[in-house]
Symmetry: C2
């Protein structure tokens, strides 16, 4: 029987509760869309002021060395690496997730010349699907859409033709968490290379890139890492591939001697070969400041809190929403969930807009899914309780049928 | 006989002189590296504070619509378009210049299937050369390096095999300005598509993309547009190609209905198909604020001032540097120059470091070139005079032989 009092008790026992104070969240808002854009961390505004006025403004071009802007993509990459089980020197931050995905897929395919299949999830995020098709066209591959549960069987039967296996660790709509170790091992058994999309996993739950022998991974930094709107993405390439990984995006920052400005691309040693163009320094250094909220926390603690929030959300769902035409999309079992619970309802769009008007922010995904992402660093059990009971009140009152919520918008 | 008094007189007659006040330049610095990183405009810090605290911090995910982050890539593109002679709806801002160059070259090659040559400048900027090779490998093309002066002859002889002609409007080392209209016309006469790199032209001098019937152009925004370190690049695709341009970087932002998250990439109508991933919003909106310094100015005024600065620099060079082992690399004729004068000297690196230590900032490019870029919106004739006489004093005194200037660094 999950009540407001139960929520309060859970929050009082939560060792991460006070971390919420590190974020500049509006007081009256319940924010459950940190799986789309993480909240603003308190360290960011002052850091940006320094970067803009002191570094760009006063140091001008010399800031590239004086303030080590040049080193930022690898320095921040290592910081993210700690959260992903990656030893230093295997992650670069820069460019958008779409661009990193392209670089990763082409680079992966080139590690397995002679194999012609690129296996990916039919339910993968649009960018991943579109780019898989584009990469296939450029590299002479065929894309095969295989749902994750079927990939083992597929690899057993046709694995010898598979160059690349590309999946997302957490399904962006359903919040379903896949077993990265298992899929990676199956891909390796078939001789293929894996490319993991960690957009909905990085900062949300423990990932063990090195231990699981993942080949390549890509992820965004503006969801659970709270790096800011459009903060640059990251790419991980396991050390064992550093000498053979051939990125198609051969920008000068990835050259062995970028400032010699030589003819002919000679890739830099190590992960630096995945550097591409000049990174967006303001967004990049805002991300670096934002990552300080992870200092002194282990991903296991974040995961424990996230599971507690998810369990509580599902309890609240059972009590308040199950009987009102809502359907639980996300698995009940904690081990099968990311840090998000999705519920379906035919009026998803209007319900979410009415909910946002009441100060509870989530989002929707086609065709009918309401997504609630909870960042364990700043979401409380009380937030979850308020979100579910507000949604219940809206559904009961029918206020979401108001034209201001049913008129189509950009995203509907 | 260019004296400090001459500089002062020229500055007093300069209608753009007061625009310098719109920039937050350190008082004691002469900044002649705006061709690498433009100076900080005074509008930027307050805008970023608003974007970070009010938009990201308070509006959170709803800022994508409420503050129209979604519209920014095209809105800012149109603003840049005014400076480049491009009618609205043909420019998108986002990603790095390297990424836009890749997208442009593959997209251009696909407009001319069956032709196998990609013609480019052997002296083009490294990223352009490396990416031309990469695109050729992916698309089955051959790269032919043809210096600009030879391109007309080459196109007359082998033009029917040429798919893409790709040059920079201004040579990044020498500051040589090429005749875009002439090269574009020659490419078109051969049936090829042109891709212009405007990195050293945008914001520095008038460009007439529509009038000259340029097909595709790419440029960065952190040089003469002063958008901030690593501010996102732009791509121009002429309206006539919008229906047929097929970008290889098929990110979901370029889809016809991005929020429907459909299977299969259906490119958006118009220039929106060149959108790729989520742009770095902080860097993007800093750029938008920075562009306000161009409000109420025509590129012709900027060009007139830039030519005056360049003429004056060359006069100062003749008087103070020509006899000290320096060589003028940039053409004397104004019509053949961008907004940069380059001089060569065997001790270029040490001389530049000694010069920077004296508060005059330019940069160096291999093997022996000192570059002085002058942004007409904030550089004065007095700055030019001080730069040249300071360099003369250093060369005469030999202070650049001090080990703190001769020890190798990242860029030497």
């Amino acid at each position: 029987m999950p009540t407001a009092r139960d929520a309060q008790n859970l929050d009082m026992a939560d060792p991460l509760y006070s971390r919420r104070e590190k974020f500049l969240l509006p007081k009256e808002i319940v924010y459950l869309d940190g799986n789309s854009l993480g909240a603003l961390s308190g360290r960011v505004p002052a850091t940006l002021e320094t970067v803009v006025r002191d570094q760009w403004g006063d140091h001008l071009i010399t800031a590239w060395t004086e303030d080590d802007w040049w080193g930022a993509p690898l320095r921040i990459g290592d910081r993210i690496g700690r959260l992903l089980g990656a030893a230093p020197g295997q992650i670069v931050v820069g460019e958008s997730t779409s661009v990193q995905t392209f670089n990763a897929l082409v680079g992966a395919a080139r590690l397995r010349p002679g194999r012609r299949l690129l296996v990916t999830d039919p339910d993968h995020f649009p960018t991943n699907r579109y780019l898989a098709e584009s990469v296939a066209r450029l590299c002479g591959l065929d894309v095969v859409a295989v749902p994750v549960p079927d990939v083992h069987g597929f690899l057993r039967e046709q694995g010898e033709q598979v160059a690349v296996v590309s999946y997302g660790a957490v399904d962006f709509r359903t919040g379903r968490l896949w077993d990265m170790a298992e899929v990676t091992a199956a891909a390796h058994a078939a001789g293929a290379v894996v490319v993991w999309d960690l957009c909905h996993a990085a900062g949300a739950l423990p990932v063990a890139l090195d231990d699981q022998r993942v080949d390549i991974a890509v992820g965004c930094t503006y969801k659970f890492l709270s790096g800011g709107p459009g903060s640059p993405a990251f790419i991980y390439v396991a050390r064992g591939h550093h000498d053979t990984f051939e990125p198609p995006l051969t920008g000068w920052h990835g050259h062995a001697r970028p400032f010699h400005m030589e003819q002919g691309f000679e890739p830099a040693p190590g992960i630096s070969r995945t550097r591409i163009g000049t990174p967006p320094v303001l967004s990049l250094l805002a991300l670096e400041a934002a990552l300080e909220v992870f200092d002194g926390v282990e991903m296991a603690e974040i995961r424990a809190k996230s599971l507690s929030l998810g369990d509580f959300l599902i309890e609240c769902f059972d009590q308040h929403l199950a009987s009102l035409g809502f359907e639980l999309v996300t698995p009940r079992e904690g081990a099968l969930r990311g840090s998000q619970v999705t519920v379906a309802h035919p009026d998803a769009h209007a319900l979410m807009r009415a909910l946002i008007a009441r100060g509870v922010i989530g989002d929707v995904r086609p065709p009918n899914m309401l997504r609630f992402g909870y960042n364990a660093l700043y979401v409380s059990h009380a937030d979850i309780h308020r979100a579910v009971t507000t949604l219940r009140d809206i559904a009961l009152s029918g206020e979401h049928h108001d034209p201001r919520f049913t008129t189509p918008t950009l995203i509907t």
